[in-house]
């Protein structure tokens, strides 16, 4: 009986420790630094724009990141290009249809090929990318930097940690129902995406 109680207590203690090590990072950045840039090749000039309306959370154990999970959300309305006519077309029904498909998401399902060096590392992040209502499973190479205790440097009223994620990958617009097979002489099928985001995990 005594041995069973001891085993139960030990298991509970290990579970508590395991959960305690997991941290949830919130990627809604009040400073507006988090961004995703996108590039499409075009005859006159490369179309370059940014998306700034980023939110979502990722729960991760910085010491054991393989079991990370969470979702990064981009508000489609915040996609911006400097040419106003181009922006209207991009937001319009034939392209992203942002009134109908308000969110672009990346749901993290697993992390593999982790290489750590101090507080930085690289890994392959597997997840489901959803654009214009169409979801595809992708594996994206990412660089991650864990900044313990640095949240206060950005937000003096708070204490906690920061997690910086950088990832570059390419998608084909045709695979997400964006004018498939059309206008490829004017705008390339491939879209280069570059995500740079920092999440905050406040602590008491």
């Amino acid at each position: 009986m005594k041995r069973t109680s001891l085993a139960f207590a030990l298991t509970a203690s290990l579970c508590a420790t395991a959960f305690a090590d997991k941290q949830t990072f919130d990627f809604k950045d009040p400073k507006g630094v988090n961004n995703v840039t996108f590039k499409l090749d075009a005859p006159l000039e490369t179309i370059t724009g940014t998306a700034s309306g980023i939110s979502g959370t990722i729960t991760i154990d910085p010491e054991n990141p393989a079991e990370a999970e969470g979702t990064i959300v981009v508000d489609a309305e915040t996609l911006h290009v400097p040419n106003p006519m181009m922006k209207d077309h991009m937001h319009g029904e034939k392209w992203l249809d942002v009134t109908k498909h308000e969110k672009i998401t990346f749901e993290v399902k697993g992390i593999s090929n982790i290489e750590k060096e101090g507080n930085t590392g690289s890994a392959d992040v597997t997840g489901t990318f959803t654009l214009r209502g169409i979801s595809k499973d992708l594996t994206v190479p990412a660089k991650v930097t864990y900044l313990p205790g640095r949240l206060g440097d950005r937000m003096p009223d708070l204490k906690g940690d920061l997690l910086v994620i950088r990832a570059d990958w390419t998608i084909k617009r045709s695979e997400f129902g964006i004018q498939p097979g059309q206008n490829e002489d004017k705008v390339s099928d491939e879209i280069e995406l570059s995500m740079s985001i920092a999440g905050a995990s406040p602590k008491d």
């Binding site: 840039t37 006159l44 940014t50 900044l147 950005r154 910086v164 920092a198």
Partner: protein, 86 residues
């Protein structure tokens, strides 16, 4: 003669305006991107400043307008106003 002068003025203003506002060989922009870096996270991000930068379509419309106005004058008969005889 006045119309040809107007065509020339339109051409000069188009070229000067396009050159002064950035000589942009891309499409017209109404905002200009500036890249900044967050000192804590080292993330590079873009800030947009509202500014009109005319592009090649602005140049094309200005030059085409001047050419059309000048060409139109070639089809207008040069008639001298008749002097009124008392």
């Amino acid at each position: 003669m006045v119309i040809r002068g107007f065509a020339l003025l339109l051409l000069v203003l188009t070229l000067l305006g396009w050159g002064y506002l950035g000589s942009n060989l891309g499409w017209t922009k109404t905002s200009v991107a500036t890249t900044r870096t967050d000192p804590i996270t080292d993330i590079s991000y873009t800030e947009y400043e509202s500014r009109f930068v005319p592009g090649v379509e602005f140049l094309a419309i200005g030059i085409a307008g001047a050419v059309v106005i000048f060409a139109a004058t070639l089809f207008i008969p040069l008639t001298k106003p008749k002097s009124k005889s008392s």
